[in-house]
């Protein structure tokens, strides 16, 4: 079973994602964080296989965290979850920084699971 960490400053989005991801047998959500700094700390503690992380968060945003995470955990598969996915520059910047994919908000359960299964 793949271990998934969710990092989003929105409790509502994190809850929605957790419900979707836990509905698939092959994934298990092992924790939640609220900003980029927590993402780094929780990755060290929990060693997830997959990280679903928001881009736009207070304290440390997702892009800044992604830069550090690529160096600290090169094997970690990161999916960015964002309302800014349709902004071409943000989307391609996330891919350049090593994100495997970008989920745009609002998202549908089907597309989230499809993306995770393709990793």
């Amino acid at each position: 079973m793949k271990k998934v960490l969710i990092v989003d400053d929105s409790i509502a989005v994190a809850r929605q994602l957790e419900k979707i991801i836990n509905s698939a047998q092959e994934f298990e959500v092992i924790g939640q964080g609220r900003n980029g700094a927590e993402a780094i700390k929780l990755c060290q503690q929990l060693q997830p296989d997959i990280l679903c992380m928001d881009m736009n968060m207070p304290l440390m945003d997702g892009m800044t965290a992604l830069r550090s995470l690529r160096q600290l955990f090169p094997e970690l598969k990161v999916i960015m979850v964002t309302s800014l996915g349709g902004v071409g520059d943000k989307y391609t910047e996330a891919l350049k920084l090593g994100a495997r994919d970008v989920i745009s908000k609002p998202f549908e359960a089907e597309s989230v699971l499809k993306m995770l299964k393709q990793l």
Binding site: A12, V13, V87, D101, S104, P106, S111
Partner: protein, 289 residues
Amino acid sequence: MAVKFFGQFLVEQGVVNRDALLQAVDLQEQTNLKFGEMVVDMKLMTIAEVERVNLAQRSEDLQFGDMAVKLGIITAAQVQQVLTTQRNNHLYIGEALIKVGALSPEQLQKNLQAFKQDQQPYLATTIEIPSGIPHQPMWEMVADLTYKMLTRVAKIPFRPGLCTLVDKLPERPIAAGLSFSGAVNARYLMAVTENIRNQIAKAILDEESVDDEPLEVLDDAVREFINIVCGNVAAKAAQLGFTLEIDPPETYSQGTTGMDIPQDWVGLVFPLHSFAGESFELVVLIANA
């Protein structure tokens, strides 16, 4: 389903992979020169003159071309010449994907059609903004996407009222807002009643009832709703050639009660009337208008 850019759509559909897309984006970046690069390339300005314009732009909010004219470095006709050359040489992502061998011209045409169909729900409808307000198309787009997301994401059937310029904000007990910067300097606010907040929370959390949810979660759902709207506004703005940054959203504990419009700012109110008979508002505060 959200506002997307064409490259993202192609990756999602499995038509191209992320490496091919990044290759095409690299090619675009090499080909699509910025105004300051283009004027040097066209030998209308030197690098030192470009730096002079960049420096002057730090103390006055003027576009590069306008500033270069103001400083007497180039003429208005030359600005037009540069803009035309930029437009004529612009490499779109679909063409770039063909150039890097990731897409055939036939695939491009077929997928452009599919993309248009996918984005059909986000095509703009006409909304009237009071005259004299700068960046009118931007505020029309903001209101239009808010209306669409209220129906599709928050699942609130409503009827929009006429947009008006106000001196004082309508008072609502709950409000969430975020700031826009970049092409425009403004603040987006959603001012709602408790019942509308709960309806938004139900939709965002995908729950039948939110009666047992703590206030923190209900407020968070409204913040997330405006985050989704404004992220999609930024995506639409990017399609129109504007860069729009958005800050993380925040909740105002007193709602809009006692909230003033800052000096030199203007307030636009877009009234919203739910089919259940409640009124709430989208408010846009615009700086230096």
